[in-house]
Structure formats: structure tokens, C-alpha cells
């Protein structure tokens, strides 16, 4: 945040006025406003400079009567006071110290004030829970835990002293020269059309993608070892990741962390769509947290409740991020997330009412003592006046964030504050619905996939991608990884939208090799506005050797989700400053331009039946018995019952032809 120290430099008159007239508590707001106006002048951006999430701008529109041009400092500073609500300064500490610094230092150069005045901690832990009531009546809960550590795992003397960062993962990073690691375990399928976009997407089953450092010589061997080690850490069958389900995408899965190296030979991507997710995966995941599941938000992660949900996803993301705004040094970021969608009707209560205790069978009593920030956000964008649901206890702290192309408003509960827990020393948030109305904003992009065809020989994979934007087209990058036992007929590949051929501007196809590697298909397609784009490709099912069938072959074989990466037009200006302090949920995907945001969605995995022999014992017994009966008894019976007679020798060819002619003439044959 450059302009903090420079308010006096910028020195617009109303700024000075407000500074004199407002109280100390409102001083900060004034500063922020001054900053926005300063930005306004400096960058001559549009009215919505508001990319700053903690901006005090036009939510007041909802409150009626507020002037649309009410961008002046005074009004924005006054409005919250009238409403009895307070806009959150997420950079509470930083902003405060910076303010102080700015006050004391006076007119120092804006670039140097912020980072130098705040001593950077060596490691830092933040936790956050976002709860979004969905229009379907479900509740979306998203936990994020972030550990930052300013260290270099790759340097000569190995890192040996760990504090907040889990040692098991630190050793993995340095041993396997990992640059970036993303692993997720998901149960259930994210229903985009009902629930909107998740903060962090993940496909059903297990997904793992890793960028290695360019110092790695044998990437495939390192990858294999890494999957084995991770399978031990997370109690999962990740050791089933081998060359038959690993691909090397050529354009998808760019690194999410910093670094300009994009040589895709250091990237590996694999999914296990059938992987089950249960307590044994959550237990080691929780052990990676500095507070474990003993304190802070993680106490809510009780497996009995968490797995009794419509959707559950847990993930670990490791990447390197900028240490400060200058971005000359990096620090390692470990982001642990749990995303869950709870079905209200699942719990058997007809009343539309929900509380932390009902959802997690726990209430919150404290923040993790090691956390520098611990917050609970409730999405109240669709509920500005409390007409949809009612929150209790109410909070006066509000916050705004631009996330997934939309500006959302949140009620914030700061768990590091004693007052949050009230006199009962425990926070049990309650949401009581008042009405069922309200339409969800239709997601601009969603996709689905299915298998068509009948029989066990051939079939067709259909992928449908919907662009719901009324007038803008946008590009999507489709990645499909299909196992070798479905042989794709790539010449039948067709991409159509609105009944016309839609020629992909980039196609990358790697054919499969039996028992060695899967198909990889990547296509860059422009989706026309308000359209459905259909990608179809035919395939043939291969026969497996009988030892290659799993113990339950009749269940079918899974094909992992298609991955669709896209730049979707945003309705509000996105925040392109990736080094700015933001709530965790809005800071996962870096954003390069203001007009669009990056989103990744996954389709359903496919379940395909392969021709399967019957392995059951009765069947084999019947087959054997029938063979014995047919060959033994059949021939004996045949011998006994047949009457033998001498057959005349076969007439020659000439004679047969002659007979045919004679037959036509009506003369008796020879």
C-alpha cells in the first residue's frame, strides 16, 4: 500500500478537513479514503478504484438514499456510523502501525514507509473460516489456514529448525526439490449451478500436481518417489499414481506461486478419481496445523460431522509467494483448506435454522494462540438488511472483498478479540432463515460431461461447456486425461457451439500407449456469448488382461474429471496487486488483469464399464461342468443315438453346374 504515508502530500482539502473533524477511531477510515482519492488522482482509474477490498465504497447503495456519487471521504466515513456498522480494516495491525509511522515520519517517501516500518516475522500463521449460506438452503463452509515462512529450503545447509511450518512437508520440499505442490482429496461433486464457484476448486477423488525445480534431473523418478512419500503422509493410496495416470500438461496448470519458469517438463499432474476420503486422511492433515485440532478454528473439524455433508474437500497447497510488496524475496506459503457443503435437510430438521454447533457439534472458544489473525466471515451480500436470514450474535464489523469476479460483503468475527465470545466465552453463530426467495447469480461458466453410446465396444465422451455471459465470449483451456483402456478416436473429435464448428486455436494431443501412458488432450477454445459448446470424441474399449482387473471390476472404471481453466469476464475490477494483504479466500489465484478473473472448474468424473469376464466361482464351476458334459456326455450320446449310413461321394463341380442348369430347364438332375 503505497499511499498511506502520503496523505499530506496528496493533501486534498476535504482530507484535511476530515482529519480535523473526525475522532481518532475514524481517522483510519479517513486515511483510507484519502488513499483511494490519491490513487484516483495518481492512476486516473475509473470510479471503481475500489479494487482495494477494504474500501469504504458503495455498499451504501443498498441502504437506500445514499447518493451514488457518494464517494467523498466525509460521506463514506459517516455512513457506517449512521448504520452502526463498522468497515473492517483487515490490515488492522499493519494499517495502525503504518498510520502511526506515517504520522511520526511525516512526509517520507511512500514506497519505503510500509515495508520498512513493520518488522517482518520469520513465520506467520493465519486462520480463516468463510461461511456462505447458499440459495439452495445449503451452507458452504470454507476453512483456510496459511503458514508463511521466510526461508529457503533449497539452500546448502538444510533447514533443521521448524516452528510453525510442518517438518514433514518441509523435508519433502527440500528432498524432492519441489517448487510447488498442490494436493486435494475430495468426496462428492461440486455443483456449480446450485452453489456457485468454490473459492478453491478440486475434482472428486485425489488430485496432485507438482512443479519441480529445474535442478531436478530425473523428473519421473522424483515424481514416483514423491507420490510414495505423500501416500505415507496423508494415508492415501497415492502410490497408485504411476505413468499410466500421470500427464504433463503443456498449457494448463501454470505455477500459482512466483517464478517465471514455465517449462512444462517440470510439471506432473495426476488424479485418482476413485480415491476415498475419510478420517484417516483428515487426521494427518490436521496434524500439519500448528495448533493441531486443539485450538482455533480447527476444533470444528470433527470427522463425524464433516463427512456427513454433500461435499467435502481438503487440500494442501505449497508455493512460494512474495515476501513483501517489492517481491524481491520469496517466502514459502503452506495453505491448508477444507471446503464443505452441508445439507440442511440432511440433518433431518425441517426448520431452516443453522448454527455452528449444529454443523460441527462444537462452538468456538478461542483463536489458535499461534495465529496472527483468526477470523470468521459470513457472506451477507444477498442479505444486506437481514431480509433473508438473521445472524446472531450480530457483529458490527463488515468487510468487502472482490472474489471470483464479484464484490461480496461479509460480517466479520475476529476471534482474537475477547469481545467476540461474549460473556459465555463461546461463539455459537446462529443463522435463522426468514424467506426462501432470492435468485443466485448464475455462474458465467459451468461444464458437464457424460458418456454416450451403448454396448461394451464403443462409446462417445461428451463435454458441454456453458458460457452464460449475455454478450461476451471468453477463452477456456480444456484438459482431458483419459486412461489408455479407452482408445480415443481422435479423428472423430468435434467442437461445436451454436450448431457451428468451433475451431480450437490450440490443440495438444498425446496419444496413449497401452499400459504405459494415458491420452492427453488440451484445447484452447473460445466460447461464444450465451452458448453451449460441445466437445465430443468417440472411443473404443480395450480388453484388459485378466490380472489387470481390480477385485470389483463390475463397479466400472473411472475417468478423471476434465479440467477447464478460463479467464472469465469480471463484473467488477479485480485486484491485480497480488502482494496486497487480503483475506485468504480471495488471494489464491493471482490476477493479471482487472477485467477478468481466472477460474478453474472440474467436470464430473466418468464411470465406464469395460467388458468384464465373470470371475465368480459358481460361474467358473458351471462353465467347467458344462464343458465336461458337452464334450464327454454329448459325444457319447451322439455315438449311441446316431444311425450311420454310407454317404455318396460329392459330385464334381461340373456335374453340380450341370444339375443347376437342368433344374432350371425342368429336367431331372444327373
Amino acid at each position: 500500500m503505497t499511499p498511506y504515508g502520503s496523505s499530506s502530500l496528496a493533501g486534498s482539502t476535504h482530507d484535511a478537513l476530515t482529519r480535523k473533524s473526525t475522532t481518532a477511531s475514524r481517522k483510519m477510515a479517513a486515511h483510507r479514503c484519502s488513499c483511494s482519492s490519491w490513487l484516483f488522482i495518481l492512476f486516473s482509474l475509473s470510479v471503481f478504484v475500489v479494487a482495494d477490498i477494504h474500501e469504504t465504497t458503495p455498499v451504501n447503495d443498498h441502504h437506500g438514499g445514499a447518493d451514488h456519487n457518494a464517494q467523498t471521504a466525509e460521506q463514506t466515513a459517516d455512513q457506517p456510523a449512521v448504520e452502526g456498522r463498522r468497515w473492517e480494516a483487515t490490515e488492522v495491525k499493519e494499517a495502525a502501525t503504518v498510520d502511526a509511522a506515517a504520522d511520526t515520519q511525516g512526509t517520507s517517501a511512500p514506497e519505503t514507509v510500509v515495508p520498512s516500518s513493520v518488522p517482518q516475522p520469520k513465520d506467520d500463521f493465519q486462520e480463516e473460516l468463510v461461511i456462505r449460506p447458499l440459495h439452495s438452503g445449503d451452507i458452504y463452509a470454507s476453512f483456510q489456514f496459511r503458514t508463511l515462512w521466510d526461508t529457503d529450503f533449497m539452500r546448502e545447509n538444510k533447514v533443521s529448525h521448524y516452528r510453525l511450518f510442518p517438518k514433514s512437508l518441509g523435508q519433502v520440499i527440500s528432498k524432492f526439490s519441489v517448487r510447488e505442490l498442490h494436493i486435494s482429496f475430495t468426496q462428492g461433486y461440486w455443483r456449480t449451478m446450485q452453489w456457485g464457484q468454490p473459492f478453491i476448486p478440486s475434482p472428486p477423488g485425489a488430485e496432485l500436481w507438482v512443479w519441480f525445480q529445474d535442478s531436478v534431473t530425473d523428473v519421473d523418478a522424483t515424481w514416483k518417489e514423491l507420490t510414495n512419500v505423500l501416500s505415507g503422509i496423508f494415508c492415501a493410496s497415492l502410490n497408485f499414481i504411476d505413468s499410466t495416470n500421470t500427464v504433463q500438461p503443456s498449457a494448463s496448470f501454470k505455477p500459482l506461486g512466483i517464478g517465471n519458469v514455465t517449462d512444462h517438463s517440470f510439471l506432473r499432474y495426476a488424479t485418482l478419481p476413485r480415491e476415498i476420503v475419510c478420517t484417516e486422511n483428515l487426521t494427518p492433515w490436521k496434524k500439519l496445523l500448528p495448533c493441531g485440532s486443539k485450538a482455533g478454528l480447527a476444533v470444528l473439524l470433527k470427522s463425524e460431522k464433516l463427512f456427513h455433508s454433500s461435499f467435502h474437500s481438503q487440500a494442501v497447497h505449497i508455493r512460494s509467494v512474495c515476501q513483501d510488496w517489492q517481491c524481491k524475496t520469496t517466502s514459502w506459503e503452506l495453505r491448508q483448506t477444507v471446503n464443505s457443503v452441508f445439507d440442511l435437510h440432511n440433518s433431518g430438521q425441517a426448520k431452516r435454522e443453522w448454527s455452528l454447533f449444529k454443523m460441527f457439534s462444537r462452538t468456538l472458544t478461542e483463536a489458535c494462540p499461534l495465529a496472527s489473525s483468526s477470523k470468521l466471515y459470513i457472506d451477507i451480500t444477498d442479505n444486506p438488511q437481514g431480509e433473508q436470514f438473521e445472524l446472531s450474535p450480530a457483529t458490527s464489523l463488515l468487510s468487502q472483498a472482490v472474489v471470483l469476479g464479484d464484490r461480496r460483503t461479509f460480517s466479520v468475527y475476529d476471534l482474537t478479540q475477547e469481545t467476540t465470545f461474549g460473556s459465555v466465552r463461546s461463539l455459537n453463530l446462529l443463522i435463522r432463515w426468514k424467506s426462501n426467495e432470492g435468485e443466485m447469480l448464475r455462474p458465467l461458466l459451468h461444464a458437464e460431461r457424460y458418456v454416450a453410446g451403448y454396448g461394451l465396444q464403443t462409446g462417445e465422451i461428451h463435454t458441454l461447456m456453458y458460457n452464460n455471459h449475455p454478450y461476451r465470449s471468453f477463452p477456456v483451456l480444456l484438459l482431458d486425461s483419459v486412461p489408455w483402456y479407452l482408445r480415443l478416436y481422435i479423428h472423430t473429435l468435434s467442437v461445436t457451439s451454436k450448431g457451428k464448428d468451433n475451431k480450437p486455436s490450440y490443440i495438444h494431443y498425446e496419444p496413449s500407449k497401452d499400459r504405459v501412458k494415458p491420452h492427453l488432450l488440451e484445447m484452447l477454445i473460445q466460447l461464444p456469448p450465451n452458448s453451449v459448446t460441445e466437445v465430443t470424441v468417440q472411443f473404443e474399449r480395450a480388453l484388459l488382461k485378466w490380472t489387470e482387473y481390480p477385485p470389483d471390476p463390475n463397479h466400472g472404471f473411472y475417468v478423471g474429471s476434465s479440467v477447464i481453466s478460463s479467464l472469465v469476464p469480471s463484473t467488477v475490477a479485480m485486484d491485480t496487486n497480488s502482494t496486497r494483504e487480503r483475506p485468504l479466500f480471495s488471494s489464491f489465484f493471482p490476477c493479471k488483469e482487472e477485467s477478468s478473473y481466472f477460474v478453474r472448474i472440474y467436470t464430473e468424473p466418468l464411470l465406464v464399464n469395460l467388458p468384464t469376464p465373470d470371475f465368480s466361482m459358481p460361474y467358473n464351476v458351471i462353465c467347467l461342468t458344462c464343458t465336461v458334459v458337452a464334450v464327454g456326455y454329448g459325444s457319447l450320446y451322439n455315438l449311441l443315438t446316431r444311425s450311420f449310413q454310407i454317404e455318396e461321394p460329392n459330385p464334381g463341380l461340373a456335374k453340380r453346374i450341370a444339375n443347376v442348369i437342368r433344374k432350371m430347364r425342368g429336367v431331372p438332375p444327373l
Binding site: V277, K302, Y506, P551, P590, K592
Partner: protein, 392 residues
């Protein structure tokens, strides 16, 4: 229970602390009494717990295994020393009305799955091959520690198997089986590789006694739920869950183990008496002829509990601070001018103009055509059309 165990364990360690102080001041009788802690001849405990059955209707086999897991964990064997193999996921099975639980008792009384479980081999990983590799230690080099049985010749190992079996075999995943001869050979290999001190083998399956008939390695004690020719029966049908929750033998063994605490003096003879025919319907069997000690002197906790390695010392040890604070040298400070940036997630133009992968070199088609024309031209120039008859 967990509270109780922890309390005892810390109590145990504390006692040694006291002991040490007293020995230092010359109270020798305490030192002699320490002997009883090391009487059994082993210094560490391991457990390999295997459920070999897949599919929802075999819920009870998973519950069997998890109930033993619960017991050994409660009695002090840490997760790092337990290799738990579950052939199917019952807890988060879609048919489970209460996800993330596996119950051993009716009316959802005892959740043996718990909130802190680490399954080392699961689903398709549970195969005869993997099981034998774990026992014999012949695993690929990159196998993580949690999937290995890192025992030595001072280890007491508990091996528990449950699943569907017959005379002389146990089925794995309904698709393959392990025979009693293979199992006996694996144990022999373990013995020869000095991978155990004593081994307790328990199997709950039909005709279970047939599985230990062929054992020939020393120091093995074996128990089975039924004799050859007998079926082992299930127990505890639950209407809400819709399947049987446990097998009879393991159910009564769990009841028995629930009363054991880390300091209890219950011995193997008591374990042999578990589940008489009146309760089990089948006749549980045991085999002790390979075992050197008298079962009456073998504590249950010699196999189900854990030994903490404690060494007594009378020397004063100076602990230096092992953690050296790293020197804060801002190498990356001013001299480094490189500014990092985030990668573009979908660089459209870059992708479109991405160069296709270099293929193996192939001469252009025109070149080959030209070459052939040249050859033919030279040919006709040399021989002329009238000499063609010499060629053909």
C-alpha cells in the same frame, strides 16, 4: 480411556525419574525392582492388523480389525508401530448411515473408528503380495515408514487377520487368497531375518485353525476363532446399519481387552479362555508348542501393549543448546535486483503461438519424389528405352 493410558504412561516415566534420583542417593533396592520392567525380553512392540474383505456386507471384518486397533492403541502402541490394512472403506461408505464411524456394538454404542485413525494400506492396496512384503520387509525403497514393519529381533509382533477363509486359505479382496503354507514360510523368513522376538498370531475366519497348522518357526503363539471344519459366526446384527457389526470371536475378545489396562497382570491363559463354545458357537483354538515360554507367564500387554525404551543412567549429561540461530544475512537484500512475479494463469496468445514439439527429422516429401525422378532419369539416360529388355 485415553486419559487413563496417558496418565499411566507419564506416571511410568516419572517413576523412573524418581528411581534415578534415589539410586543417585544410594537407595539401591529400587534399582533391583526395575528388573520386572524388562522381563519379557522385548524392547519394542509392533502390530499388523489386516482386514482382507471388500464390500459393504463385510462391515464386520473392518469392525473386527478396528476394534483390535483401538485396543492396541489404547494400550500404548503408537500409530507409527501399527500397520493397519483395511480392504475397503466402511466408514465413509455411501451405505453407511453415519459417515466416519464404524461401530462394534449395537445401538451405535462404541465407535471403534474414532477421530484419530491412520490407515496405512487401504482399498486395492490390501493384497497378498503387499501383506507378505510388509511381513518380510521386502518393499520398494521409496515406501514410506508408515507402511513398513520396521521390527527387529527384540520386537514382539501382534498379527491379526480377519476375512473369509476356508480350510488352509484366507481370501483377500474376494479375488485372491493366501495359503497356510505361504504364511508359515513368510514367518520363517521373518525369523531368519531376525524380524521378531515373539509373535502372536490371531485369526478370525472360518476354519481358522487350519491357518496356523503349518507354522514351523519358533516363538510363535497362535489363536484362531474356529477349528477345522467349523464356521466362525457373526454377531450383533444392527437394523440401522443393516449388517452384522462384529464376528463373535473378536467381539468377545474386544470385551476382554476393554478390561485390560497397561499394568494389568492378565496373561495368555486368560485370552485362551475368551469366547467359549457357548458364546462363539465355534470352538476357538490355540497353538503354543512353538512358543518357548509358558503362556501363563506371558502378559497380554507383552503383545497388546507397548514398551517404552528407558535407559537408566547415573552420569550427568550436559545438554548444550542444539539449535543454532541462523545468521541473518540479507543476501537477497539490495544487490539482488531481480523482481519476481506471478505467472499468467492462462496466457492465451502465448499458448496459441507455442511451438509444437520438435518431431524426429523426416525428409520433406518433395525431396523424396525428386530423388526418385533423378534415379529414373539417370537410369533411362544410361540404358535407353530399347535396353529395357535386358532388365526384365
Amino acid at each position: 480411556h485415553h486419559q487413563c493410558v496417558n496418565g499411566w504412561m507419564t506416571g511410568c516415566v516419572k517413576r523412573f525419574g524418581v528411581l534415578k534420583r534415589y539410586t543417585n542417593t544410594g537407595h539401591l533396592p529400587f534399582k533391583n525392582s526395575a528388573g520386572q520392567f524388562f522381563s519379557s525380553g522385548h524392547t519394542n512392540n509392533w502390530a499388523v492388523l489386516v482386514c482382507t474383505s471388500r464390500f459393504w456386507f463385510n462391515y464386520r471384518h473392518v469392525a473386527n480389525t478396528l476394534s483390535v486397533y483401538r485396543s492396541v492403541k489404547r494400550l500404548g502402541i503408537p500409530d507409527s508401530h501399527i500397520v493397519l490394512m483395511l480392504a475397503d472403506d466402511m466408514a465413509c461408505n455411501h451405505r453407511n448411515p453415519k459417515p466416519a464411524t464404524v461401530f462394534s456394538h449395537k445401538n451405535m454404542e462404541l465407535n471403534v473408528y474414532g477421530d484419530d485413525v491412520e490407515v496405512d494400506y487401504r482399498g486395492y492396496e490390501v493384497t497378498v503380495e503387499n501383506f507378505l512384503r510388509v511381513l518380510t520387509g521386502r518393499l520398494p525403497p521409496s515406501t514410506p515408514r508408515s507402511k513398513r514393519l520396521l521390527s527387529d529381533d527384540r520386537s514382539n509382533i501382534l498379527i491379526y487377520l480377519t476375512g473369509h477363509g476356508g480350510n488352509g486359505f484366507l481370501k483377500f479382496q474376494d479375488s485372491e487368497e493366501i495359503s497356510n503354507v505361504e504364511l508359515a514360510d513368510a514367518f520363517e523368513q521373518m525369523w531368519q531375518k531376525r524380524r521378531y522376538n515373539e509373535l502372536l498370531f490371531i485369526i478370525d475366519t472360518c476354519q481358522g485353525a487350519s491357518m496356523y497348522e503349518r507354522f514351523y518357526s519358533p516363538n510363535i503363539m497362535a489363536l484362531a476363532s474356529s477349528q477345522v471344519g467349523e464356521d466362525s459366526l457373526s454377531h450383533q446384527p444392527d437394523l440401522a446399519i443393516g449388517v452384522h457389526l462384529m464376528d463373535r470371536y473378536t467381539f468377545y475378545m474386544l470385551e476382554f481387552l476393554e478390561d485390560i489396562h497397561p499394568a494389568s497382570k492378565t496373561n495368555m491363559n486368560d485370552l485362551f479362555k475368551v469366547c467359549p463354545k457357548s458364546q462363539c458357537v465355534s470352538t476357538p483354538g490355540h497353538r503354543t508348542d512353538l512358543f518357548l515360554r509358558d503362556p501363563g507367564s506371558v502378559l497380554i500387554t507383552d503383545f497388546f501393549g507397548s514398551v517404552r525404551k528407558v535407559e537408566l543412567t547415573m552420569d550427568a549429561i550436559n545438554l548444550t543448546d542444539p539449535i543454532k540461530q541462523m545468521e541473518e544475512n540479507p543476501v537477497n537484500g539490495e544487490e539482488q535486483k531481480e523482481v519476481y512475479s506471478y505467472a499468467d494463469q492462462l496466457p492465451v496468445s502465448e499458448i496459441i503461438h507455442q511451438k509444437p514439439k520438435q518431431k524426429d527429422w523426416h525428409p520433406p516429401d518433395g525431396f523424396i519424389l525428386g530423388l526418385w525422378t533423378l534415379i529414373l532419369l539417370v537410369f533411362f539416360k544410361t540404358y535407353g528405352i530399347k535396353h529395357l529388355k535386358h532388365i526384365f
